[in-house]
Every structure is written in C-alpha cells, then in structure tokens.
Symmetry: C2
Subunit: 340 residues, 2 copies
DNA sequence: CTGAAAGCGCTTACAG
DNA sequence: CTGAAAGCGCTTACAG
C-alpha cells in the first residue's frame, strides 16, 4: 500500500517535507525555466506523484499577477455563430495556456457583469455581446486589461474590435440581388443599435443605390428567431410583396424562410430570394441552403486571439480595429444573376 | 478633479488608508453578513468608490477555500444541445454566485484537462463530454469535488450523473413508428461507447421486440453531422430501403434528412419517416419539423445545478444518478399512427 | 543550484 | 463593533 491519501489538498510544502528539500525547490520544479538540478527535480517529481500534488493555480496567479484567465461575455448561445466562436476561441486560448471564464449576460446588466469579471483578475476580455460602457472601458484601460469587442465596435471606445467588413458585405448582397433581377428587395434588420446591423444596412443601401434602387421595405427582426418571424409576416402581408429579402444574419434568415414557405406558401428562390449573413453551419444544410456572407473564413477568431495575446504578453494595450474581408457564399436560396 | 487614478490595482489596504480604518474593517464591509457599524460601512464604501476598489476574487478564494468556480467540460459546440445546456446552466450558476470555467476537450485528453481543472481549485465539475477516468474520479472524490456527468453515466464511477430516461425514450420511438405502420425501421447509432447511445438503442430494440419486430438495419453515425450523412448513404443505397429511421440524436437526424431528400429524392415523411432525439430548437424549424424526444423540458439543467450546488454547499459528495422522464414530441417528420 | 524569507490580497479567529 | 495578526499556497529576489 502507498501512503495514506490525505483528505486535505497537497501543497508544495507537503511535497518538500516528503522529499526532504525546500519548498522553493518544489516551486522551481513546477516553474518552467527555473533552475533545478536534474537529480533534485527527479526526486521532487517522484514525491509529488506519490502525494498527488498539483500546483494551486490561484496561489500562482496571486503571487505572479498572472491569472491566465480570459473572460468571454456572451448574450445568447442560440445563434450558432456564438457557440462556434466560443468553441474556436477557447481552443486557441487553451492551447496558449489560458482558460476561458464564461459570462452569460442578461440584457442591460453589462457593467455589473464586467465588474464581477474584474474581480477575477482576468488578463483579457472578449465581448461578444453588446459593448463596453465607456466607464468600464476606461477602468480596463487603467488596469491594463485588453478588451476586444467581437463582431461589434464603438468608434469612440478605447476597446479594440474585430469585425468583418460589414459595409462591403451588405454591398455585395445588394449587388448580387439586383444583378439577379430582383426589383423589390426588402431588408430585415437586426438590433438597430448594433454597429454590425448599421454597417450591413448602410452597405446594402449603398449597393442598391449604385444600381439606382432603394430598399423596398425595411422591418426589424431584432436578431431573434421570433422577432424575425414576425418581421417576415409584416413584410409579406402586403399584396405587393418583395421578390427578395436580405436578412441581417443567418439566424433570422432561417426564421424568415420558415415563415415565407410554411405560412405564405411561397417557394425559395422561385418566388422570393433570401440572403443571410454569417455563414453558420446550418446555412449549408439542405433544408435551407442559404446564400449568405461568410464571417468565419475571414479569420475573426485568429485575429481576436492574436490581438488579445499580443497585448497581454507585451503589456501594451492600444486600440486596434481589425476589419476582415467579407465574402459572398452563393447557395440555392437566391436567384442567380444571369451568366453566373 | 478626483484623486489621481493609480495604475496599480487598488487593494483593501489602500481603501483602509484612504478611509483611516483598519484593513479588516474594509474586508468586513465587503463580506456579506460580517459585522460593521453603519457609519463605518458608509465611510468605507465611499472611500472604495473613490478609489475604484473591487475585492480580489482570487485572494478571497485562496484564503476562504471557496473559488466559486465550476468547470464545464465540453467537446463540441456544433450540436446545439450543448451550447444550450451551457447557456442555461451558466445562467443558473451565475445567479447562485458561481462562475463557469470552460474547458473544450480534444478527443482523448480528458484526464490531462481534468488535471488542469483541478489546479484552478474549482468547486465542482460538469462533464458534458466523454466521461471521467476512474483515477480522476477517485481524486475528485478524495478532494471532495462533486462531479456531475451530464447526458452520460458510468455505473461503476463515483461521479453523479443526470440523463433522461434514454431506454424509455428509445422504446417510445419504436412504439410510435411501429404503430405508424412502418415495417423496415433502421437505426443510426451515435458513438458506440456512449451510455446514451447504448440506452437509446437498447430501448428502441426492446420497443420493436414488443411488437415482434427487429431493427431493419443499423449503421453508425458517430454523433457527427458528416458521419450521419455517410451512414444515411449506406442505409439508403440498398434497394429495399427502410421506411423509417430512428437517429440517435437530432444533430445527426438533420444530416440524415438532408441526404434522404437531396441525394435520394425521397420525401419525408411520405416515403421515409425520421425521428431524432434531444428536441434542440432546430427540430421545430419548418425546414425539418422533426419528431423527436425531448430532453430539455425534463429539467436536466435544473437537476444538474441542484446536485452540484447541494453537494458543494453541504460539503457532502455522494453519488446521485438522476434519470428524468423522456417525452415524445410529435412533429411532421414521421407518419402518424392511425387515430392519432 | 539551493534555501530562508518576504509578500501577493484577502478572511477570520482573537482580544479589546 | 473594531484592529492587530496569522495564514491561504504560491513565486521570486537575495544570499550562500
């Protein structure tokens, strides 16, 4: 039988006692790059294994000032765009030795949450929900905690941001739909106060204008599945219904397609073309086969991780606003331009 | 102008100095239930606000032995079942004063990850991916950290588990399909070594047997979208194709439906009935309208949170295996039994 | 390379 | 109710 297993956690002092060395030596053995002789290291490792020792990450964080914790703020996980970014970003950060502390936000409590985050001494913050208040942004800047807003930005904020080129994306969609011969093109907006919606919409209108068109009708879906369904009902209740709809994100586009097909008996794309934005995995499912604008290929995740880690590791936080290329992904939910 | 804002974090000692009180008094002011006179509390709160003080959660965790951190292990976030459970469980835990530390696992490194988790002094672990090795389970038990396996179980493990009644769920599906007049009922399995798949399959076979039927053919989808598509191709390539398919989860069922309809030109449910398991939100999307078995209504999230918090707060960890009722959700992807 | 000692920012008996 | 002091488990100069 081995030693009696203790019921209280094993500390470096326990290991030191067991191996007959100093506590500092134990600590060095578990600190990459610290100087310990091979003989001592081996003896300590053996003792540690026997006792089942594991360094206390909290104590390490305290004394070193490095928690290796990154906070991620997310509002909803039902739009597949966010779980996927959460998964990919988490893997990247884990691979670099960091861990993700997850914060689900409720509408409106942003600052309260950020305050809680700060208590955990996180080394960086990713905001994939709403935006940081200017007050908190200032506080983060003061303490040198980098903040990256993911898929959103605030021009006047000191926080960095990573977005796709939403203006160009919106423009691409307008161009594609007009060239596809559509003449009554509607728009289902997301949340009106989001930078992403603003830019997609602005680019879309710009694209329409380039062809001498304007939006046929604009309704608000609020980025929710239900909201988008209601918006679609409004849009298609009038007799002169649109012949195409640009929906501000895929998650809403699925709902719009459901309503168009199931409630109005219209075919997509024969009667109505639908285009979304994000290119979430479901967009390629045959049940929807949604033409959309890709945000994943563009490296938003990589860029977010890079900005964050660079600023953490150099301890130099300065605002960066990365805008990545938008790419139209043509599938079957919208009529194609001639010759394409 | 207010005081110069310090570049170094504000500590309780700073606040104490500023307010001319002891550091203990500051600590008490921020400890719910500790005794401080209203006058002193007010003075301290004022000083804290002026300096922008926030208690250091790590230091608090260290000294009190309570990190208020719960680890959640997840493998993939593309099956909507998991993001949703992550969202709901996180909200519950946050509301109770805990935070979720997220760990994305790679295939096979389970134990390495759990070891890393333990370093963070988490107070509880939720495993929504694979299962805990018996060694680590023993270690968690030793240190008194409750572990709940979510949507899976290991009979011989000391870890608790929360599942739906997968055997009954499988049986319900078989019964429903046979009563719907199907005679060649196929099965698309998930991962063969998962308890969930095992039980759903066993219940399904049992249900078939009750009607004197056996499975028409069984293929393996491995719980992935691609794997399920390939499985469906195998299943439908033979001339005497099935007239119904039970797919071990919704995520795979969508893929199966895509293949059936897009590649084999079959109609659902006119030519083939499809039934899934989980009742993820997409199952109710009109593009699929999937008949399935609900796992959400059954309170798996609530039960998981309850077990976890109860064991943390009473410091009494004992194995619990909660099995919640399964409920068939009838939609349009499967032919209905007569008179239903 | 090694050990004794200080200190990270807190909580919590212990006296008063 | 309040303050001085010990201590949580580490890392990291500082001597040797």
């Amino acid at each position: 039988m081995t030693d009696e297993t203790p019921t209280t956690p094993v500390t470096s002092a326990d290991v030191a006692r067991h191996a007959n060395v100093s506590q500092s030596a134990v600590s060095r053995t578990f600190t990459p790059g610290a100087s310990v002789s091979p003989k001592m290291r081996e003896k300590i490792l053996k003792a540690a294994a026997e006792l089942g020792y594991r360094p206390n990450a909290l104590a390490r964080a305290m004394i070193s000032g490095r928690s290796r914790l990154i906070a991620m703020l997310v509002a909803y996980l039902d739009n597949q765009f966010y779980p996927l970014m959460l998964e990919q970003l988490s893997r990247k950060l884990q691979a670099s030795g960091y861990q993700v502390l997850l914060f689900m936000t409720e509408p409106g409590d942003q600052d309260e949450v950020v305050s809680r985050i700060l208590q955990y001494q996180v080394e960086g913050i990713v905001m994939a929900t709403a935006t940081l208040s200017s007050e908190l942004a200032r506080e983060c800047a003061r303490t040198g905690i980098p903040v990256v807003m993911f898929n959103r930005y605030v021009a006047t904020s000191p926080a960095s941001s990573v977005t796709s080129d939403n203006i160009e994306g919106g423009r691409l969609v307008a161009d594609f739909l007009v060239r596809g011969g559509h003449e009554r093109i509607g728009f289902v907006a997301g949340a009106e106060d989001s930078s992403t919606n603003r830019d997609r919409e602005a680019g879309f209108y710009k694209g329409l204008a380039e062809h001498g068109q304007t939006v046929f009708e604009r309704v608000i879906g609020g980025y929710t599945f239900e909201g988008a369904g209601d918006a679609a009902r409004r849009l298609f209740s009038r007799p002169d219904r649109p012949d195409a709809v640009f929906v501000a994100n895929d998650h809403m586009a699925f709902s719009v397609m459901d309503v168009i097909r199931a409630e109005f008996g219209l075919r997509v794309p024969e009667d109505v073309s639908v285009v979304g934005y994000d290119d979430v995995p479901q967009a390629s499912w045959k049940g929807y086969d949604l033409t959309t604008v890709s945000q994943f290929g563009a490296g938003m995740i990589d860029t977010t991780a890079t900005i964050l880690l660079e600023q953490i590791e150099t301890a130099a936080v300065r605002k960066r606003a990365a805008v990545l290329p938008a790419k139209l992904i043509v599938r079957g939910s919208a009529r194609l331009p001639q010759g394409q």
